[in-house]
């Protein structure tokens, strides 16, 4: 299957999480914090810490470590606190 990361089409496999796809591409960070705009990516890996938030199909605050990709997903980095688009 194929998904889009920050506007670019990339390959993905069934069962992969968003974090699995991004880290497989060598991406380490896909969010900035609300306060100091510091980069964040995966931390706990099991849905506990909410550090790995990302936008999927226009919806922000999706945990990249928990969300399994679906064909055609539009995945974008998240900047601070975002509203759904």
């Amino acid at each position: 299957m194929r998904v889009r990361w920050d506007g670019v089409e990339v390959e993905a496999r069934e069962g992969q999480t968003v974090a699995g796809v991004l880290m497989g591409l060598g991406v380490r960070s896909w969010r900035t914090t609300r306060g100091a705009q510091r980069p964040r990516g995966l931390f706990c890996g099991i849905g506990v810490c909410f550090d790995c938030l990302v936008k999927v199909n226009g919806v922000p605050d999706v945990r990249a470590c928990r969300r399994v990709v679906a064909d055609g997903d539009d995945i974008r980095p998240q900047s601070g606190a975002e509203l759904p688009s």
Binding site: G20, G24, R28, R34, A36, L42, V62, C65, R67
Partner: protein
């Protein structure tokens, strides 16, 4: 009501669901994962099928988050959201039960150090989950650090996924710890071959295993480029002058585990010493609520499965099944608990870690609260409890609701760490889902969402 509901499909939950179903009762097994197994038995998400098989009487509800448990007449009502993680399209389901088994497990504790908020620092569990579940190594050159036997399989999983593990830094000196508790070590002998096997694999990969050593800083601008490790005194105070810089692009840290207590707390189960108190049948202080696995103490998969088998039988009995006491499993629980006690004694988190946190080190990752601001809030405002502490400092108020920082913040300011586990909404959900859940619950004959709403407000204020 006439069914057993098991929350969590790790070793404890799988055993509980199977045991209850084999005794002829209907079972619903609710789990956050897509596949069975939980963290310890994590399956390759990219492979087809499921390597676990459950009895037919078990209904497995996958991709499901339990966000609230409320006591109702004769039992409990369990509120579940089902569907893709954090998607607004998830659907709600309400399960009522007279016999609830909580097997929600635990997650890694990470203690803060300068630079731990850089991308490239992961928990040991994350490194393990990415390697085993997704086939991805979290870095090319990885430092594994923390304390406990779990660091060994994490290092092995990283090596198997293609990473170069440059070092395993164990903050304790576990051999001395084990020898001081011969009874516990004897109870854990079945674990020794497994640990010896991991140690052998690390030796073959030429991975140094250093005790009384810890990562005390990570360096980099936007991502980890290096780390500093130091030798530790017995209380974990870094030995001055022992610091070494290691070139790594990832650090995986694990300082033991924190139990996922919120559902047990919501069900008003008694908590003792940070874990759910249970009797010989895994019954909690609340009739009809059982707990098994890491919730009752950190003891590993084998103990969790034994506890699950006992809890499942006890839950089936509560529903009227004719049950012989599971004496074998109960004996395994007793010996497993001796092993767990030895484990806890050999791999404690010792107080010297607070010495490697600086004033500008973030202690609450969500709200970006540095140590300095936390201590300032405590000093200036004469804080007496967790709520004012959270409000004044911001620590523990973010999305993770203190799951990551709670134990650390409590230790830094001298509070009991159980106080952070009071989360009436056990899993964050979107306001739209909460609004939708209110109407679902009303159909089921109650209005927990309105109550949850009020308590959510309380938690914030």
């Amino acid at each position: 009501m006439n069914r057993v509901v098991v929350v969590g499909a790790g070793p404890a939950g799988l055993a509980a669901a199977s045991a209850a179903a084999e005794l002829g009762v209907e079972v619903v097994l609710v789990d956050a994962g897509a596949k069975l197994g939980g963290q310890y038995f994590r399956q390759d998400a990219l492979a087809r099928g499921d390597r676990f098989a459950l009895p037919l009487a078990v209904e497995h509800v996958a991709n499901a988050s339990v966000w609230a448990v409320e006591p109702v007449e004769g039992g409990h009502r369990v509120h579940v959201r089902i569907g893709e993680a954090d998607d607004p399209s998830r659907t709600g389901r309400v399960l009522e039960t007279r016999a609830l088994v909580l097997a929600t497990g635990a997650y890694d504790r990470a203690v803060p150090f300068p630079g731990w908020d850089l991308p490239g620092v992961f928990t040991a569990g994350a490194a393990q989950a990415m390697a085993k579940g997704q086939g991805v190594a979290v870095g090319d050159r990885v430092l594994v650090a923390g304390t406990g036997p779990f660091l060994l399989p994490v290092a092995v999983a990283l090596a198997a996924a293609g990473a170069r593990v440059v070092e395993v830094a164990e903050a304790n000196a576990p051999v001395a710890g084990w020898l001081s508790r011969p009874r516990g070590a004897a109870a854990g002998t079945r674990r020794f071959p497994e640990l010896a096997r991991y140690a052998g694999m690390l030796a073959r990969h030429r991975v140094p295993y250093r005790t009384r050593t810890a990562v005390v800083a990570a360096h980099g601008s936007d991502s980890v480029a290096a780390a500093t490790v130091a030798r530790l005194a017995k209380d974990w105070t870094p030995v001055p002058g022992s610091e070494r810089r290691v070139e790594v692009d990832a650090v995986a840290v694990g300082f033991g585990f924190t139990p996922q207590l919120e559902l047990a707390v919501a069900a008003r189960c008694r908590i003792e010493g940070g874990f759910v108190a249970v009797d010989a049948t895994q019954g909690t202080s609340v009739p009809g609520v059982f707990a098994a696995g890491e919730l009752t103490g950190i003891g590993g998969a084998e103990l969790a499965a034994s506890e699950g088998a006992v809890a499942g039988a006890a839950a089936a009995k509560r529903l009227g099944a004719v049950v012989e006491p599971p004496l074998g499993a109960m004996a395994r629980v007793r010996s497993g608990r001796r092993f767990a006690a030895a484990l806890a004694a050999a791999y404690p988190v010792r107080p010297g870690w607070t010495g490697w946190v600086r004033d500008d080190t973030v202690v609450c990752r969500c709200e970006e609260v540095p140590l300095g601001r936390l201590l300032e809030a405590v000093d200036e405002r004469d804080l007496w409890g967790v709520r004012p502490l959270k409000l004044a400092s911001g620590a523990g108020l973010g999305m993770c609701q203190g799951r990551v920082c709670g134990a650390n913040v409590a230790e830094l300011v001298g509070l009991d760490d159980g106080v952070f586990a009071r989360r009436r909404i056990a899993a964050p959900l979107r306001l739209g889902e909460l609004a939708g859940a209110a109407s679902t619950a009303e159909e089921a004959g109650g209005s927990p969402a309105s109550r949850a709403d009020q308590s959510f407000g309380q938690d914030l204020g």
